[in-house]
Symmetry: D2
Subunit: 353 residues, 4 copies
């Protein structure tokens, strides 16, 4: 049974594990005040080509989203997201639990546009309604799509004009930036957003997200927020050590590239067999629409999730690859896929007799 | 420079690191639904001699306290703690951030008693005041003291009689249970409290706390709370693997015993030199009251924290040992202590001439 | 300038003012512990034909909604509403400010159905998403429509089956129950919902809503919630006195009937002139779709609100009548309407020449 | 049975009731956008001799405190109060329900001093603890004492130096400003605090508090907060009308003076009989320490509250007078007091025979 469920099934890249072991018996300052953390921040600043940012290392994505949003908003303010946004659906109301409404618009490709935001602004005009103050986007999105430079520039310009903070959830930023269709750099993102995070958990770290805060209004007292939400790791050096590894020797990008390449193999296999896709993803999540009979057969050997029922006999499913996905597993899968399709055709032919 | 600042300066015990490496390339189910987690739960149930509990593995102490308390209380209810309680002082208002008041009484030894709780109940009698509904204790306490079986039984009986949940913060439970003055077992704690947690972070794990919920009213939907507060680790198996190691082959107790033994060496050294103590601790935190001149001298070679100014020339300081504290470091310290005292005496004699 | 903006432009019915004055110099117990409040509760229990309810008198509608919802839900639970629901749009995120998500579905007629709820339940299946626990409906709805007995029975049955609380916002319950199309009694509502409130503010009281709690799980400690949210009126007897008047001598229904009758006159006038309506309301809010030129002309003499732009030259507007709406004002309006239509037609004819 | 329980037992002063009746059938703009409200604001600005303030009329004291504090603080910030402060004790955790800790120091006279605040600042030094950001005081205090100009100036200077907002709860501001021992004007208070409120509920209005915001950082979007917390009165003109009356023709001060005079009569009576007092109040709350036997006897004819048990046979009780307290009731009380003392003495003498 091979698992294409997600990109956090395995632990961490051996290089990261090695670094953790090597530093394990040293004494470090607590709460991310250590030298590894300091060094990791320097590496990221170099990567994003900005010195004037605050960087905080956090454990997970929901935690990072909740913190970034609740620290930025006053009680009556709201965050805008695509209806598919992770904060709207898959975080058990974490944002609302801090007192803020998530305002949404349907989005076929998982992306947010200035037009969608404008619609929401038009509806929220006085104190009888919440006040939109932040736009939340994810890159890649929850359905594997990604923003182009042109799109991000347009969003950035629009948000600055309207006085909205722009926050980018980069849980899968590695996958976005190494996709064949990408034209963004991490420096572009640091330049065009007010805050964003670089995902480690889904890209080869044991855990960890690096939140980069560029807007000066969002910097003060952020460590208080971290501590208050139970997000300050006593052994914060564990995060520093991991991000040092990620941003030395290109490991962050190498792992993401591998994940994308494996996904492209899957995509080609599904395409070859004539299956359509639920979303136009060129990254490590693929959403083929498959016959339910084939899905049942595939599940005998592979784990993967349902995305959405399409019609009586078809379902969009999700295949996720990661830094750890084995080439031979993908090769085996593409063979199994073709075999199973043939078997099913034969069985149907048999049944019709 | 050797660090006695805290018990989370180092990474994890080599056995734990080894287990993490070995499992790192396996595929695991996410969000603590994996087999290591399952096994770790079984080990803990065996240790506490109760099957009818829910166990959740969380990343850190503040997070665990916030979750346990906010999941248990309705909006108008409050938690009672000693004034020195971690939730009252050192968690940046995490409990209040979830909407609940912390009601306190001064406590010389860091412990809570039925009499202290009764005073608070007497003052909170109707809907114009919050409704006390939980008592929070820590073992060891924030100043290294610990509860006896008699004390815990009295608290337990009292809380049950009054309809209060009893929650024990076990961030340093290992130190408590392996102290020479201890007469409690983990099974006693599971029997006498409604929920408690077993601290890993401060006892040789990379991170991790095991929350044990015994009271049936506190069990439903707890995983929703974990997710909502950003506390659900994607790679939850990391927690399972660590707690497997902690509760196999006695590692949890061995590490805590070592920490306590190292602390007892420090205690003896301070006592030999005639220094009094701020609290009667027989565990891995020692609070000698030292002359400020000696403190300054010690800081040239050792890191440790101030606890409280005692008078014009004396301060209570905190020395913390851990599973990783080296015997030779402690030996060196006791020698240095005596040497420095002599040096200072000589300098004072010189100055008086 | 006559105002059809809303049903809370005037103070209170003279009978209510008289009762307030008469009791003004008496001494009353504070915080709704007085005898007028007791009596008002008895009158309401008689009206709803249920003794086994708790009744609380509150000042306003948003306050009542926020209290009812936040007291009923645990932190991870959510409330379901039509997208047009008052709690979703016009309460500045009051529900979210207490930590809870509002889950919505579009609704053409402002009503919620079992099918809409089922869709939401289907999407919320595990702890990565909020847990739906309450359905919120308003009667009349925000667009003047109302539930039939059959509809409310179906909702009630469905909610009980699914373990959802059913909460009815009755800010305009008087208008609903006295509408020519109504087949519900207040006793039906008390029987079919778990909690609901009877609106006084929009039906002739100075202010005040009566929250009726029938579900036993929702009763305990509710006064604590009231106090905590700043909603406990020191001079609570003011609420008791007003609800005594409302439910003596049929005043509650008489005032609502008057408001509805005035609205029916407006409706007939708009219909006679051939204008369509945005919603099928038979209650005190009417939403005709008018040409923008006519709207501009009407605004010279009347106040009313825009509801929604329909096309380039038409807008749905909202006319609200109340217990205090004067018959002569309505008569004058219907005359002015016809006159203005003719004037505009003449001007257009002139312009075309 | 005459009631000295509190200063909100009666409705409102006849002048206020008259004004409410007169305006009751007029049409007003909703949500405090009406002309009465505008006028009331002008009257208050004149009274406090400041034009550069925002004024909001709210319904009650707990509501006003909760709003003022939660609007001013970021999530990690806390408010400082005397242990006896209303927000700390008698508001069912309203401040904590909005996420903020209340930091306290014991205070014998109910007042807060720079020294007390400094102690708290000294203890809150980094992100592991909440960040103090506001000082809360009440005038009169909960035990009837009041601030002098010198004291308020010192507090104001200290808070500005330390970057703390200074908030004054004026639920009983009328009693403070008309006390024989007062040397403050309302203009002083507006000059020395960052925000404060003028209490109507406890000084002859049906209900209503006027929140005056002077600090520019605290003004933006305050109406959003009001709406979100369920505190925006639909018929806001009711508040405007009442404050117009209060600040026309000196009614606010006249009513408070009457209450104080009645209290001074009670104070003299208790003093004459040789009873000591729990607090040195020269305002409308008096706290004599009486023998329990006398208390029992008094309760046969009078209502009043216990404040605190003093010893085995004595209790401090609270007598409150108001704008509505009748001179003849006070006269009767002083006679009854003396009579009952004599009766009890006679009974004791009898018993000793």
């Amino acid at each position: 049974m091979y698992c294409f469920n997600n990109d956090y099934s395995e632990g961490a890249h051996p290089q990261i594990m090695k670094a953790l072991i090597e530093a394990s018996l040293d004494q470090h300052d607590g709460y991310s005040m250590d030298t590894h953390t300091e060094h990791a921040k320097e590496l990221i600043k170099k990567e994003i080509k900005r010195e004037d940012v605050d960087i905080h290392f956090l454990v997970g994505g929901t935690q990072t989203n909740m913190l970034a949003i609740s620290a930025a908003l006053r009680p009556h303010q709201a965050v805008i997201a695509a209806e598919t946004g992770h904060i709207n659906v898959h975080e058990t109301g974490a944002v609302e639990s801090t007192g803020h409404k998530v305002l949404t618009r349907p989005s076929a490709d998982g992306k947010l546009t200035p037009a969608m935001i404008q619609e929401i602004l038009d509806e929220h005009t006085d104190e009888h309604m919440v006040q939109p103050k932040m736009a939340y986007i994810s890159n890649t999105t929850e359905i594997g799509t990604q923003y182009t430079l042109t799109e991000l520039e347009a969003l950035s310009r629009f948000c600055r004009q309207k006085g909205l903070y722009l926050f980018l959830d980069g849980a899968r930023l590695g996958a976005a930036l190494t996709s064949p269709e990408n034209d963004l750099s991490m420096a572009d993102i640091a330049r065009l957003t007010d805050l964003f995070y670089i995902g480690g958990t889904k890209n080869g770290a044991l855990f960890g997200e690096a939140l980069v805060i560029a807007h000066p209004d969002l910097k003060p007292d952020f460590r208080y927020m971290i501590k208050q939400k139970g997000a300050m790791l006593a052994k914060g050096f564990l995060l520093g050590i991991q991000f040092e590894e990620l941003f030395q020797n290109n490991l962050f990008y190498d792992m993401a590239s591998h994940a994308n390449e494996m996904a492209m193999e899957l995509k080609k296999a599904f395409s070859r067999c004539g299956f359509p896709f639920f979303s136009g993803s060129a990254t490590n999540q693929q959403f083929p629409i498959l016959p339910d009979s084939l899905i049942a057969r595939l599940r005998q050997s592979y784990q993967f999730q349902n995305q959405k029922k399409i019609d009586e006999t078809h379902t969009a499913v999700r295949f996720v690859t990661s830094w750890a996905t084995k080439e031979e597993a993908v090769r085996q899968f593409t063979q199994d896929l073709e075999t199973m399709i043939k078997e099913l055709a034969a069985e149907r032919a048999e049944a019709r007799k």
